[in-house]
């Protein structure tokens, strides 16, 4: 598996996270009613997508924090992706031209209800993203290849911290593509939305 420079990887992941924060700040300018409406029957509203992301953050961020707090591994200049971790990251990440591949149904516990407040979920997501940036800063001082985090779907499977950061952020990017698509659908004049901002 590929070996990369750890600092460069963390730089990239932090930049990706900050880009998401910029997009979030623009999302806050959209009419909250639009954010709360499913763009089409059976599809998630923007608010639901954000809450879906929150549900994973609620699990992974404390796990990452705990691992970093307990770590005494010194930093390693290089990081080698794990086989499974890398697979998750690649399957999550949007491809060129914002194509989404490996479509799947969200597991139980990560399917948000329709009736949620968009501001509440965005506020929580923003806190999570700022926390994630801090965790990435801390991670510069440790070996992200040595520390392992159990995954949500199978706690006996533990992936390298560097890959967990990677697929978490790829997951965010994937869903922000979904958010962009949802807003396009709504602006394209689906019934009921044509005259909204």
């Amino acid at each position: 598996m590929k070996t990369v420079n750890s600092a460069t990887l963390i730089d990239r992941l932090q930049n990706d996270t900050r880009q998401i924060l910029v997009r979030l700040s623009h999302l806050r300018q959209v009419d909250p009613e639009i954010l709360a409406q499913p763009p089409a029957p059976g599809k998630w509203s923007v608010a639901q997508v954000i809450e879906h992301l929150n549900s994973y953050g609620r699990y992974y961020l404390p796990q990452l924090q705990k691992a970093l707090d307990q770590s005494d591994c010194p930093a390693n200049a290089t990081f080698k992706h794990g086989l499974l971790g890398n697979y998750f990251t690649q399957s999550m990440a949007p491809k060129a031209n914002n194509r989404i591949t490996h479509k799947m149904q969200a597991p139980k516990g990560h399917r948000p209800p329709v009736d949620i407040d968009s501001k509440t979920v965005m506020d929580e997501f923003e806190k999570q993203e700022l926390w994630l940036l801090e965790l990435l800063n801390r991670a510069r001082q440790t070996d992200i290849g040595k520390l392992r985090i159990p995954i949500t779907i199978a706690p006996f499977i533990k992936l390298k911290m560097g890959d967990v950061f990677g697929f978490l952020i790829a997951h965010h990017q994937r869903h922000f593509v979904q958010i962009d698509n949802a807003l396009v659908m709504q602006r394209a004049g689906a019934p009921g939305f044509a005259n909204k901002k």
């Binding site: 420079n5 930049n15 900050r18 924060l21 910029v22 700040s25 806050r28 300018q29 930093a75 700022l130």
Partner: protein
Amino acid sequence: MGYDTLRIGHSTRYEKGSRKSEVGCQKIPETSNLCPSTSDFRLPFIILMQMETALDTLKKFIFAVHPLQPEEWEAIAGIWQPVQYKRKTVLTAAGETERHLYFVLEGVQRAFYVDAHHPEATLVFTYAPSFSGIIDSFLTQLPARYFLETLTTSNMLRTTYQQIQQLMTAHPNIQSWILKVTSHAMRGVLERQIELLTYSAEEKFRVLLKRSPHVLQLIPHKYLASYLGIDASTFSKLLATVRIG
């Protein structure tokens, strides 16, 4: 030169056609201060040469305003790492506390504010030679209220809050320099506030062109319009009529 040069975004010292580096500065991996890294740190010769040129530029920039003793300069010179970023990299996000101070060697950056109820506002541009970073967050270590991004590929020198703190503690004259630079930055900010509050769109436009004529080529017009507090269509009209004047 004078104090004008210290106002971020209003620098009159920018030289047209200043030599651009042919080979970009290569980012040096940030190491942990706690533990030695396992990689090889021999810098290629060309990067050492560029570092010398960069520090020379920084020295001239600092000394123009506040000359330092040789040992003070040696101390400042030692805290910088060269960094390079692609265009449209977000260096600092709103809500984050600014950990870094940058000295711009090449490229343009912009600070901008976005919130739920107002259109995006461009606050500041930084370009060579000047400092960059979210300065109020850096100095106060309070969370930033706005974003900082690169508009073009950027080569910069970068240091940290801890290093600046250590320097200021060890060298009172360096602390004086920082105070001086900050005071003049404040002066620039207030002058800009006067212009934003009292000048007409055309006056603001003319002042920008007079101070920094090169910005029209460097920076997308929508950001310049936002920076001046005028809308994009007014800006286009002014471009057409005023430029010839």
